[in-house]
């Protein structure tokens, strides 16, 4: 893909130290559903249902998936704002899965979060100085040169006027507020920053600015990111690796380039086909190969059996409905959970009969045609 060439060179030197900064194994979060006067548990929202991944020092892991697939829950679990139902989270080799609020407190310096909604993530009654200075106060850290000076340095770092120290959030635009949120997250020089859809509430024209800011700060401060997004376009240029989530599971996990060029999971392929193509000459063919996913995401309260994507997958067969595909490495550091992957050998070649009632014939799956004649 030609428009990618520049950043490919930029990303080849992505650091890949062996010891992961964050290690997640079989992470589960079920929210119980309580009903009636007695508050009996009648079911559970299976928001995150057994996911495993590593985040390496200095890299950016992008996490994508449709709304409601559990991305935010995953983010809140690894920052331990939520208590996991099961699984294991290790940060720098230390098990933090069930640390109490008090035990977690010192670690909060190292793990920070950037929030989705710049209008609700800043307390409207506090000045910017108070907001960005809160990490120092809460962690009992006295920075060199005092809190005020550090806050002003942070404001300049994220591209805001340090003189605006005494202003209130309502005096700033969405993009500026998000920069304030970023300044707050970076105050304590964290090791890991989890950004939950950091730009999806912003104007498209401002999104790139904020994403670029995050990218620059990473180079400058040596940060490690987990960036959550609901489509593949936003994180395209900043991610080193990408995890694709569907209904509480990771369905594909790969380095960025292979994922964009040779997606293996049908869901990833569908997500990719929805990414807008900037080149007008190629737009035509891209439109032809757009995969329209039919129907809504099923409820995480009673997810489909077998492969959770089988109700919407045009390749689904009997085995997809009965057996859950494991997340296996089908190419070097390219893991996918699918019985009949794209761009890889079929895992269950014997099962070819399409599942009755699947949208097989409706999904317009035209071969992605780089060399196809335009028009």
């Amino acid at each position: 893909m030609s428009d990618d060439a520049t950043d490919l060179t930029k990303r080849t030197d992505a650091p890949a130290t062996t010891e992961p900064l964050l290690k997640v194994e079989g992470l589960v979060k079920h929210f119980p559903i309580k009903k009636g006067v007695l508050q009996r548990t009648v079911g559970a929202v299976q928001a995150v249902d057994g996911i495993s991944f590593d985040v390496r020092q200095g890299e950016t892991l992008g996490v994508v998936g449709e709304s409601g697939c559990g991305k935010s829950t995953m983010g809140r679990l690894i920052t331990r704002l939520l208590e996991p139902t099961g699984g294991r989270i290790e940060f720098e080799g230390k098990d933090i899965t069930h640390l109490s609020v008090g035990e977690m407190r010192p670690l909060r310096k190292d793990v920070q979060m950037i929030f989705q909604d710049p209008y609700s993530s800043l307390n409207p009654r506090h000045t910017i100085g108070t907001i960005v200075g809160a990490p120092f106060r809460l962690q009992g850290v006295t920075p060199e040169g005092g809190v005020k000076k550090s806050v002003q340095d942070l404001l300049s770092l994220v591209g805001l006027n340090p003189e605006h120290y005494n202003r209130y959030p309502h005096e700033f635009s969405g993009g500026q507020r998000q920069r304030i949120g970023i300044a707050r997250a970076l105050a304590l020089k964290p090791r890991l920053v989890v950004a939950d859809e950091p730009v999806s509430a912003l104007d498209v024209s401002i999104q790139a600015q904020v994403v670029n800011l995050l990218d620059d700060l990473q180079d400058e401060l040596g940060l490690t990111y987990v960036i959550i997004a609901h489509d593949l376009s936003v994180i395209r240029h900043v991610s080193d690796r990408i995890a694709v989530m569907y209904l509480g599971k990771i369905v594909e996990l790969a380095d960025r380039q292979p994922l964009y060029e040779r997606p293996m999971h049908p869901y990833t392929k569908a997500l990719l086909s929805a990414v807008p193509v900037p080149d007008p000459r190629r737009r035509q063919s891209a439109r032809a190969s757009r995969i329209l996913l039919r129907g809504d995401v099923p409820s995480p309260i009673s997810p489909p059996s077998g492969c959770r994507f089988h109700t919407r997958c045009w390749k689904a067969t009997a085995v997809c409905k009965s057996t859950e595909p494991p997340l296996v490495e089908l190419a070097p550091s390219h893991r996918v959970a699918c019985h009949h992957p794209e761009n890889a050998p079929d895992q269950v070649p014997t099962d070819t009969e399409p599942l009755a009632g699947t949208p097989a014939e409706d999904a317009r799956e035209v071969p992605a045609a780089d060399g196809a004649p335009p028009g």
Partner: protein, 332 residues
């Protein structure tokens, strides 16, 4: 006029970029939400009028004794010569109005009504404000705790509120006032009466504040800035006092202001029923009882405490509504 200030506030809200672009401006200090609310409040004529009346009333109540001394107004001085014993009504037209007694005198003993209205004002306001403070204290503590912690704590507090709201308050107030003996809590006479009224009214009005605070807390708790605070290691008390409380001050102020007139009416009603402030102490409710007994002979008497109550309640309500519009324009 206020016009130039208004334009600044409008542009500051509508186009933050524009304000920031003009960074060369010498004044860098931000306009807090309080300052913006004040500008908005000043525009509301009815609220400003209500506020001025409230300030005057509070001054009158606080300075009741000095005022009475300076103008030689004695609320308990009998002027039997001004009353016609046969008619049981003040001599002269308009309920005995004169330069010496601008609001007339009472038909029974010829006491000066202006003096008695002033005397009644401090009793009324003291009871109403005191009871409101009691309600706010209980309501805010329980409302915040229930709203923030949720779960069984919330269930318990919510049931408690329902119970208090379903309680036959008037019966309780009557029986309590009747059964409280002199010398209770080391208090006697008037202070005891006032204390009982503050306790009874305040203790039963807290669920109104409590419900509002609980609902506001529940919605604030879901805002991401609370989560941001938690992600920095903040705990419950810090979040409640530093993050939630600053956002709750406005609604608490508004509903406290709106609770005061309700409590004034309640105090008047209790005194009217004879279980509030006891004669000879002047109180607005007590004056009304007195007037109701004699309305055939002296109809005007009734209007004096009636108007005092009406003006006070109206002024507090106008002020409260204005505060609500200014502080929380979305809540309407």
């Amino acid at each position: 006029m206020t016009a130039p200030i208004e334009t600044t506030s409008a542009s500051a809200e509508a186009q933050p970029e524009a304000v920031l672009a003009g960074a060369g401006r010498s004044q860098i200090e931000g306009r807090s939400l309080g300052q913006i609310a004040w500008t908005r409040f000043k525009r509301d004529k009815a609220a400003v009028a209500g506020g001025i009346v409230v300030v005057c009333l509070v001054l009158m109540a606080a300075l009741a004794k000095p005022i009475q001394a300076v103008f030689d107004l004695d609320p308990n001085k009998f002027n039997q010569d001004l009353v016609d014993p046969a008619l049981q009504a003040p001599k002269g037209p308009w309920g005995g109005m004169s330069w010496e007694h601008p609001l007339g005198v009472d038909p029974g003993f010829g006491r000066d009504l202006l003096a008695r209205v002033i005397e009644g004002s401090w009793v009324s306001l003291l009871v109403a404000v005191g009871a409101t403070l009691v309600s706010v204290l209980i309501g805010v503590i329980l409302g915040v705790v229930a709203g923030y912690y949720g779960g069984w704590v919330d269930s318990v507090v919510s049931r408690l509120m329902d119970t208090f709201l379903a309680f036959p308050l008037l019966l309780f107030a009557i029986s309590l006032s009747a059964s409280v003996q002199d010398g209770f809590w080391g208090l006697t006479g008037l202070p005891l009466r006032i204390a009982v009224l503050i306790f009874v009214i305040g203790f039963f009005a807290w669920p109104y504040i409590g419900r509002i605070v609980r609902a506001q807390t529940m919605s604030l708790r879901e805002r991401e800035f609370v989560e941001a605070s938690r992600s920095l290691g903040a705990r419950g008390p810090f979040i409640i006092f530093r993050e939630l409380m600053p956002n709750l001050v406005a609604p608490i102020l508004v509903y406290a202001t709106l609770l005061i007139p309700t409590n004034i009416l309640f105090e008047a009603a209790l005194s009217f029923l004879g279980v509030g402030i006891a004669p000879p102490q002047a109180s607005w409710g007590g004056m009304l009882t007195d007037a109701a007994d004699r309305y055939e002979a002296d109809l005007q008497y009734m209007f004096v405490p009636g108007l005092a109550i009406f003006i006070t309640v109206l002024a507090f309500n106008l002020l409260g509504d204005g505060l609500r519009d200014a502080l929380d324009p979305r809540s309407k």
